[in-house]
């Protein structure tokens, strides 16, 4: 029996003819829902935060409850990059490359103060906030953020995905991220190099 016949039957007999349960929804909401519920993170552990990120995935905190236990080794299979730890000038180009390899729509959580703002390491080696390299959607504070904080960040991201707010903002803005540009002291930072390479 083809789809056409089913629709025909539906017209004739109404809902009474249907033998199974069904739901109706707007396609957009359905897409948002499925995006939020199968958010696979890329393994991008850098420093201390990575240990807490792994702890979040382990038995006690069990990220599997939210369909997120599959940390993908390949960026091609991941939707979410959790930047867990301090991003060094040497790592920044690698990070950007991995981000570029991820499929749209993709999200970034900046986990911990080092990734968010450089943290206590305001020095030559550390990128002062990963939002200079990739657009960040949610910042998780803490040094390192406990698993609860990371889970809260993830829930926040889920809500943002469900609301569609992020994608709308991303479409409006040029860079899509926080849009912060920070003047460097000597102008010879790796951040500048990254922009050159990827623009």
């Amino acid at each position: 029996m083809g789809v056409g016949n089913q629709i025909e039957e539906l017209r004739e007999r109404g809902l009474e003819g249907i033998q199974h349960n069904f739901m109706t929804a707007r396609l957009e909401s359905l897409v948002k829902w499925s995006r939020a519920r199968s958010c696979w993170p890329a393994t991008f552990g850098l420093a201390c935060c990575a240990i807490e990120m792994m702890a979040t995935g382990a038995a006690h905190y069990d990220l599997a409850r939210y369909g997120m236990e599959v940390f993908r080794a390949s960026p091609r299979q991941a939707d979410l990059m959790i930047v867990a730890g301090r991003v060094s000038q040497k790592m920044a180009p690698v990070l950007r490359q991995i981000y570029d390899q991820m499929m749209e729509p993709k999200w970034v959580i900046s986990m911990g103060v080092c990734a968010s703002s450089g943290g206590m390491f305001n020095n030559y080696a550390i990128v002062q906030g990963v939002d200079q390299v990739v657009p960040v959607d949610v910042y998780a504070p803490g040094c390192p953020p406990g698993p609860e904080t990371l889970m809260h960040a993830i829930f926040t991201l889920h809500q943002e995905i469900l609301s569609g707010e992020l994608l709308a903002r991303r479409a409006a803005g040029e860079s899509g991220g926080a849009g912060i540009t920070v003047q460097q002291i000597d102008g010879q930072t790796a951040t500048a190099t990254i922009r050159r390479e990827h623009d």
Partner: protein, 435 residues
């Protein structure tokens, strides 16, 4: 010689290829291992054109953080390898030159983030050596208690990641499960799960909570039988042994020459443990064994760490008995802030408190080196003071950084799949490697 060329060789070739040529193409799948080896050529003698350069990392799930390896391969065999590091370089030694001795702990604790308390301990011991102060007995015992528990949690982390790297994923879940229990105690004592800044020059940041004995006893009770479970799950298991035994072998002489310490040196057969051989804190007053391997392979390093958890628990049990009452930090007005209760009552105390935390305390000029046995080997801090409240130079002798030098040696002529086991068994923490 690849399989493809072997199969197309005609009957005039020598015996190995000769046999192959008389089979149908698909018959190669039914060859015995010996036959396959015969046509596969000698892995020790590859032709130049068959070498493959492979880049592994810096973002690779089995490299424990941001380690990058350049591998020169002949087929599956690793001929040479070179670790490329610096992807987590944090400039901590430079930052340390801008932080006072009191703040320094927050800096160094983030190096080896699997065993943060050891970093703080080494830094504090070096500072105290420069200051020439003695910390109270109770503070020393507290330091020992916390460090041994940290060794347990660090080795549990190793068990988890080692299991994960070799495909024993259930071990990963178990390792994290037990580690979480230790972290819960740490959180209760220090307020943080990691990066505690608990051990400070002059003592520790706070006294143990009132019911710490119950908590620690419970920890021992909980973890000890679980170690038996690990034995059942891994130690005697044929697959586990097959993957680890005889893989990544190093001798004592090689380990010494390459500067390796900790489980790598002990695994090779040298009973060297700073806790016993150069006792610091009160390690000369507790009874424990130094675990030594015989083969210097990955299996020995695994077994050493597993048994070191047992020894640490043994030490912890003795600390419960030995813990004296007393002060948890030195009562030296220059170094120690006044107690909280006095700050509310006395203006001088408030000023004193403020001065210590903003300006810090002055340390007499000189240089000193202090070393402790961290879960990864000798962790040393070299401090140079110029008489101000900020160290002139902070250098950390990071065991992971130096142990990583053994990696090319361990991986040579092994299979690339064994490389994962070897990286895992060296147990490098990249935060400490790159600092």
């Amino acid at each position: 010689m690849t399989l493809q060329t072997a199969m197309s060789t005609t009957g005039v070739a020598p015996s190995g290829a000769d046999r192959v040529s008389r089979r149908e193409p698909s018959a190669v799948l039914r060859m015995s291992e010996a036959e396959a080896a015969e046509i596969g050529g000698d892995p020790d003698d590859p032709g130049d054109d068959e070498l493959v350069l492979l880049n592994m990392g810096p973002s690779h799930p089995s490299t424990h953080g941001v380690l990058r390896l350049m591998l020169e391969l002949s087929g599956e065999t690793v001929l040479r390898s070179k670790p490329v590091i610096g992807y987590l370089h944090t400039g901590m030694e430079k930052t340390g030159e801008n932080l006072t001795y009191l703040q320094g702990g927050t800096n160094v604790t983030r190096m080896d983030y699997a065993s943060p308390l050891f970093n703080e301990l080494a830094f504090s011991l070096a500072t105290e050596r420069l200051l020439g102060i003695e910390v109270p007995e109770r503070a020393t015992w507290i330091r020992m208690l916390m460090c041994e528990l940290n060794r347990v949690s660090s080795h549990l982390l190793f068990m988890a990641t080692n299991g994960m790297d070799l495909g024993a994923v259930s071990m990963m879940i178990y390792g994290w499960r037990e580690r979480e229990e230790v972290l819960r105690f740490f959180e209760k004592v220090t307020g943080l799960r990691m990066n505690h800044n608990y051990i400070r020059p002059g003592g520790v940041a706070a006294d143990l909570p009132a019911d710490w004995r119950t908590d620690v006893a419970r920890l021992i009770e909980l973890i000890e039988p679980r170690l038996e479970e690990y034995d059942t799950l891994l130690t005697g298991q044929p697959i586990w042994r097959e993957r680890l035994q005889g893989v990544g072998v190093i001798s004592v002489a090689e380990a010494l020459a390459l500067g390796a310490t900790g489980p790598i040196l002990r695994g090779a057969g040298m009973a060297w443990d700073l806790r016993r051989d150069e006792p610091y804190l009160f390690y000369d007053q507790v009874d424990f064994d130094v675990i030594v391997g015989t083969h210097g392979d990955c299996y020995d390093r695994y077994a050493i760490r597993l048994n070191e958890i047992r020894e640490s628990l043994r030490i912890v049990a003795q600390i419960i008995e030995a813990m004296p009452s007393g002060d948890y930090r030195v009562q030296d007005k220059k170094v120690t802030p006044p107690p909280r209760s006095r700050i509310d009552a006395s203006m001088e105390a408030l000023i004193h408190h403020f001065k210590i935390f903003t300006e810090g305390f002055k340390v007499p000029p000189g240089e000193a080196y202090a070393a402790v046995e961290s879960p990864r080997g000798e962790l040393g801090v070299y401090l140079v003071s110029d008489g101000t409240s900020v160290p002139y130079r902070v250098h950390v002798r990071a065991p992971s950084f130096i142990n990583l030098q053994t990696l090319p040696h361990l991986m040579q002529n092994g299979l690339i799949a064994d490389g994962v086991a070897i990286i895992s068994s060296v147990d490098p923490i990249m935060g400490e490697v790159d600092r």
